[in-house]
């Protein structure tokens, strides 16, 4: 056949504009880092850079599930409150298992596993509503948004759950390596009996949380990119009709997609419990916005069919850098919501009005 249409694909945008259109997120992230580096104090210290990674985790975990959902052309508005629900369930079980006499090495992972298992339920409900009962994703997950929040408040009796095993906080806030230049390197345990000077010069490397949770991100990035499951996820987002006619079990697939989303929301909840040693119903209330923004900045279209974990990671880093940078500059945190909301609107406008700039469709 004649390659006439293929040649006309990028007729409208010039080469540099197209490059910028495709890579604006990376450029934006670099500009952001440069700006905070110039304005802030010690912004590029190893400690602060690792803080950005830790700050990016809750956003990234929620956004991972959201990436799968958005690629299929759906959206999951419940992730923030499913995360809150998970923190409450996880914290509650840690307290209960501890009271039952279990040592921390058993109670912490067990509570986390129970929480992850229970956390699949909201995903199953969302998936069933969307895939089998044909409720629009926006409405189905909005319903779960309220339901998950209500149950969290009941379980937590409207107060944050405390009294968890203290070791949880160590997992959540400690590092794999501690280096005191010229003196010692230690693994997992902070070196003892250090002088004041040495304490100050100590460098902590590789937050435990980052390592644990990036494993999940890596596994699901692989699933999306390399497996049939991932391929079918893109196909459903590209054309539901084509997927059905190709014999893909679309309802079952979509149900799994919403379960994955709830699974990542629950992972984010477990992470929160380890970091803050508490569980609260509103732990993720502001995170739903972040998760959608991270995915959209990452190049996914809300119309479905495109998106990748690589982009979502960049999106989450942009938000985490903003958050960390504002703390560094002592800017009140409410400003970040304005900034992130504005970024979302701009990203969606670019997607809608300049699709050729982003290399998407004609």
């Amino acid at each position: 056949m004649v390659p006439e249409a293929a040649a006309s694909t990028n007729r409208k945008a010039t080469a540099p504009a197209r490059w910028l259109g495709r890579n604006w997120a990376i450029v934006f992230l670099l500009l952001e880092l440069a700006a905070f580096g110039l304005l802030g104090k010690n912004f590029f210290s190893p400690e602060n850079l690792q803080n950005i990674l830790v700050a990016c985790l809750p956003v990234l975990l929620l956004a991972m599930g959201e990436t799968f959902v958005i690629i299929t052309g759906g959206i999951d508005l419940s992730v923030g409150f499913v995360m809150g629900f998970a923190t409450v369930v996880c914290a509650k079980f840690m307290v209960l298992l501890q009271a039952a006499g279990l040592p921390p090495w058993a109670s912490i992972p067990l509570a986390a596993l129970i929480c992850l298992a229970i956390g699949l339920i909201p995903g199953l409900i969302n998936g069933t509503l969307v895939a089998r009962l044909k409720v629009p994703p926006f409405l189905a997950t909005f319903g779960l948004y309220g339901i998950a929040y209500g149950f969290s408040e009941i379980i937590s009796k409207n107060t944050p759950i405390g009294g968890l095993p203290p070791i949880a906080g160590e997992i959540g806030n400690e590092y794999f390596f501690y280096i005191v230049p010229g003196k010692t390197v230690s693994f997992l345990v902070k070196p003892q009996n250090l002088a004041m000077e040495e304490m100050r010069s100590m460098i902590s490397v590789l937050p435990i949380l980052v390592v644990i949770f990036f494993v999940f991100v890596a596994i699901f990035a692989f699933v999306l990119r390399r497996t049939r499951f991932g391929q079918h996820t893109y196909a459903i987002g590209g054309s539901m009709d084509a997927a059905v006619r190709a014999g893909i079990n679309v309802p079952a697939h979509l149900t799994w997609i919403y379960i994955i989303s709830a699974f990542f929301a629950s992972l984010s909840g477990v992470m929160y419990v380890l970091k803050y040693v508490s569980g609260r119903a509103d732990a993720g209330s502001a995170r739903m916005l972040d998760s959608v923004v991270a995915v959209v900045i990452g190049g996914a279209s809300l119309y479905g069919g495109t998106g990748a974990v690589k982009g979502t990671i960049i999106g989450a880093l942009i938000i985490a850098t903003l958050e960390t940078g504002m703390v560094n500059l002592l800017i009140p945190s409410h400003n970040r919501y304005i900034a992130i909301g504005a970024i979302l609107v701009i990203a969606v406008l670019i997607d809608q009005f300049f699709p050729e700039l982003v290399g998407r469709g004609e």
């Binding site: 056949m1 390659p3 249409a5 694909t9 497996t227 049939r228 391929q231 590209g238 054309s239 084509a242």
Partner: protein
């Protein structure tokens, strides 16, 4: 003559009081291109949808490769090798050519002995083979469908059905959305398929297409089959007359169809 690939006997479909298809008989032989003609509402689409499993007949029988078949769903028809290409083609525009050919039936290979991953090289190679066999040229099988022309998309959809062993192809208005040059390509492709013994039913409003590509014409009007002609024995004028149902059909023995 050989055994017909598809045979319809007295096929009937009613919607309430309306008889959309009324006792239609039809045969399609291997390697034959049959044009199905008729005005809007003549019953062409309804007839085709019974053969592709979308509608259930209210009367009559369908024989495929000599055996009577009952189609519960479009999947039943697909499994038998009855492939229908609608105008929308059902391609995932965000995926590339070979991903669409293998959609739903992707080739995989083991990865670290743990999990199976997509085998892109194999799918690419197999797709290349089938497209080559059909004399279809697409510059890169890694192009997303949305970057292809209408004719190329049509070719991908045909390539997919042939790869998965279509035994009968039904094409609904295959050239409707195409430019002139692309129409030519698709019609050539239909002839290539026929030469490989795959029978094709073409529904089209474009008489030129029909005359240049078919061996036989079946004309429907108000749900009934009103005529059947060998393409080389009829003329566009006669066919138009049969479609609209005018009593006086101008006979133009000298006219003949355009070059085959």
């Amino acid at each position: 003559m050989a055994e017909p690939m598809l045979q319809l006997r007295g096929l009937t479909k009613r919607f309430g009081g309306l008889t959309a298809v009324d006792r239609v008989d039809l045969e399609v032989y291997p390697g034959e291109v049959v044009g199905l003609l008729g005005d809007n509402g003549a019953g062409k689409s309804t007839l085709i949808k019974m053969v592709s499993g979308v509608y259930h007949p209210d009367g009559g029988q369908i024989f495929f490769q000599g055996r009577e078949i009952r189609l519960g769903s479009p999947m039943d028809a697909l499994e038998l090798g009855i492939e229908t290409l609608y105008q929308d083609l059902a391609l995932a525009e965000n995926l590339n050519v070979y991903a669409n050919i293998f959609l739903g039936r992707e080739r995989t290979k083991p990865f670290l002995g743990l999990i199976r991953v997509l085998d892109h090289a194999n799918m690419h190679e197999e797709s290349e083979k089938v497209l080559k066999r059909l004399e279809i040229e697409i510059p890169s099988l890694k192009s997303q469908i949305k970057h292809l022309s209408g004719g190329q998309r049509q070719a991908v959809a045909i390539g997919r059905s042939i790869y998965w062993n279509a035994k009968l192809l039904i094409m609904d208005e295959p050239t409707a959305a195409l430019g002139v040059q692309e129409q030519r390509k698709v019609l050539d492709l239909v002839r290539v398929l026929a030469s490989q013994n795959i029978p094709i039913i073409v529904i089209s409003h474009q008489l030129y297409d029909i005359f240049s590509v078919t061996d036989r014409l079946v004309i429907m009007r108000r749900g009934r089959k009103v005529a059947e002609r060998r393409t080389k024995d009829t003329t566009p004028d006669e066919v138009v007359g049969l479609i609209i149902g005018s009593e006086e059909v101008a006979q133009q023995p000298a006219g003949g169809p355009p070059a085959d």
